[in-house]
Amino acid sequence: MTTTTSGSFSAGPPAGAKIGPIAWARKHLFSDWFNSLLTLIIVSVLGFAGFRLITWAFIQAQWLLIPNNIGLLMSGTYPSNQYWRIWTLLGVVCTLAGLSWGIIARNLSRLFSPWVLGGIAVVSAFFVVFPATRPSSMILLPMVAIVAVMAWVGRLVGRKLAIAGQLISLLWFVSYFVALWLIGGGLGLRTISTNDWGGLVLTLFTAISGIALSFPLGMILALGRRSELPVVRWLATAYIELVRGVPLVALLFMGQVMIPLFLPEGARPDRVVRAIIALSLFSAAYLAENVRAGLQAVPRGQQEAAASLGLNTPLTLTLIVLPQALKIAIPAIVGQFISLFQDTTLLAIVGLAELLGMGRSVLANPAYLGRYAEMYLFLGIIYWVFCYAMSLGSRKLEQKLNTTH
């Protein structure tokens, strides 16, 4: 990218200009009486609101309900003597996350820059100080260590092994089934009915399953909509327009209420599975449009060039068109994933005890009546952390894939 031309005029401060915070404030905040008044009003309003929030958070709020129910919020009514399975799963995820980080950062000169070290320190300190996580800090701190160690291992492996990237993708794929086995049981582990899955575990499981299923489906729909075969095109278009015209809640209710009506007992998919299917079908229609936008942004010349090189249609798609189209569509696709993650809160309405639904159950406990603000603020922060992590990840991915010059 070239910088805008106006940038070159203001390079360096003009002669005689004062720099420093006071000068900056005078120039930007108190340049005339109107701006000064505006600044004062806004600062006092913000200051008052901030003060009220802080006094509420530290004096009035009763945060005890969060640490007392943290197990419920994290994993619902999952039997507590089986919690080790969730922890094992977290260990697997941390290992893979560390390895991936190391492999992605294999060409950086320093893996643990001061920023990264600071981040690790802050997270560790948070786990020790924050009351809700303190009882588990003996497990959470080693998790942080696992991530760091595995990042170092991943970097070594990544430098030695050219296919490390493909390998880690395969491991992530396998880990999904490991997660399914660890949470659900079977094959030597006690079977835990999906009725007992809940809290953040259920939220993440449905969101990740939904993302994993809707992405390929959405891609196929997008290609179908641009297909030259009329039947395929009509079907894809009809699906997209039909699903986009129905609210997600309606789809979820259809899954939960109508499927039992016309399938015999025993042949019905599980409630969680129904919810995941509804989420994926819904999200796929939106994803298809995002991918289609990417496809349309790829110049036609690319396809023609590929054809002149003798590539057939599948090769043209997989080697030339899709890589470029998906790269263009990353921000929109990740936006769709974030909204899918947030849409999992609707599962609370159809009776699944995901994070929000579990919060509602905890609030109905007579011991914590009326503690809405604390609970919803806590839940909001959890959702924010995950959504922000996703958008951060997408930004990194964009930077990494950025090949424009």
Partner: protein, 351 residues
């Protein structure tokens, strides 16, 4: 892939249309097809599946240990105790109010214990079978103690907060019109906003179901400053229910519920039930299964009520634990007392 997705959806829509029409025609649903009673299904499964709400203070919630509790939940546990001698042999399904009846008629749950009001349309056209009421709720009115308001007539010229779009608003205006009281309704879309306005003093009374008012009162800054008027503006009998046309299973749920009430009438509690074993009173001997065949006639072990009382207790104990003096709500028994104490709870004889 996209073809299948589309075809699946088309099939779903077609079937949905059919499903909707057959649902009103047959009042049984798949749960009763084949002639076998659900009782056999439940017994062979070894576990009861009970539909609850999961988020109503005092009725169903999840406690800190991850166990469901509340009045609705304990009714499920009582049925499980009668069937399996284990109050924990029950799986709780959380159901939304819109899906509760389809979940029951579709056979996804064996019974509902989910704050459901017994009405004629639900009993007939929806195809439900209502077991005895376990909580007589009704629309009430909350006021400040120092306001001096003691009945609805005192509201002449005063403001009442009410949620709009519910039968609550309608009941209130009906009552007031019948009494000829000119009052000022302050209408809210949202319950939280209504209670906040009441707390700020924008209205002198707030009306809703009594159990909800009690729960909300404990969230106000000074709960003791507020009181509920004696008046009841609507009838909301809440109880467990099963699906139509399955008498064997319905009888089990019905008589376990009656048994909870009868146990209280006999004075049998979870603590003193052992003392009643070997009682000379033939009624009690029959009730606890030491004489007669009351249980086996129903397809249950003869000592089913002994199991229920040992594990769960009688109705009075359940009530006091969840809504009464031992709970945060401290709700008086009122209508939910035995008929001998001026309440409405009355169990037919066990003989």
């Amino acid at each position: 892939m996209k073809k299948w997705g589309f075809l699946g959806l088309a099939a779903a829509l077609t079937l949905a249309a059919c499903g909707g029409s057959t649902d009103t025609a047959s009042d049984g649903g798949p749960g009763t097809s084949g002639g076998a009673s659900r009782l056999q299904t439940v017994l062979s499964r070894g576990q009861l599946i009970c539909g609850v709400d999961g988020g109503i203070p005092g009725f169903s919630f999840v406690d800190e240990s991850g166990a469901y509790s509340g009045l609705d939940v304990e009714v499920c546990r009582a049925v499980a105790a009668a069937l399996f001698d284990d109050p924990n042999a029950v799986e709780f399904r959380r159901l939304d109010s819109t899906e509760r009846f389809t979940a029951l008629s579709g056979g996804e749950v064996d019974m509902l214990s989910r704050n459901t009001t017994w009405t004629i349309s639900r009993d007939t056209s929806v195809g439900m079978e209502f077991a005895p009421t376990t909580f007589y709720d009704g629309q009430g009115m909350m006021v400040r103690v120092d306001s001096g308001i003691t009945d609805l007539e005192d509201f002449a010229g005063r403001a009442v907060c009410v949620e709009t779009g519910t039968t609550t608003e309608l009941n209130l205006t009906d009552q007031m019109r019948r009494l000829g009281v000119e009052f000022e309704p302050v209408v809210f879309q949202d319950a939280d906003a209504a209670y906040a306005a009441y707390d700020e003093g924008r209205c002198e009374g707030i009306t809703s179901d009594k159990s909800q008012l009690i729960a909300r009162r404990s969230t106000l800054p000074n709960p003791d400053e507020h009181t509920l008027l004696e008046v009841t503006m609507s009838k909301e009998p809440l109880g467990p229910l099963t699906v139509n046309n399955d008498s064997a299973w319905f009888d089990v749920v019905k008589w376990v519920t009656f048994g909870l009430i009868q146990a209280e009438e006999f004075g049998i509690t979870s603590e003193n039930v052992e003392e009643f074993l070997g009682s000379d009173d033939p009624n009690i001997a029959r009730f606890l299964g030491e004489e007669g065949t009351l249980g086996t006639d129903m397809g249950l072990p003869n000592d089913f009520m002994y199991r229920v009382v040992t594990h769960v207790g009688n109705y009075g104990e359940i009530y006091e634990r969840n809504l009464g003096s031992e709970s945060e709500f401290n709700l008086e028994r009122g209508l939910n007392d035995l008929w001998t104490n001026g309440g409405l709870l009355y169990a037919p004889p066990f003989r």
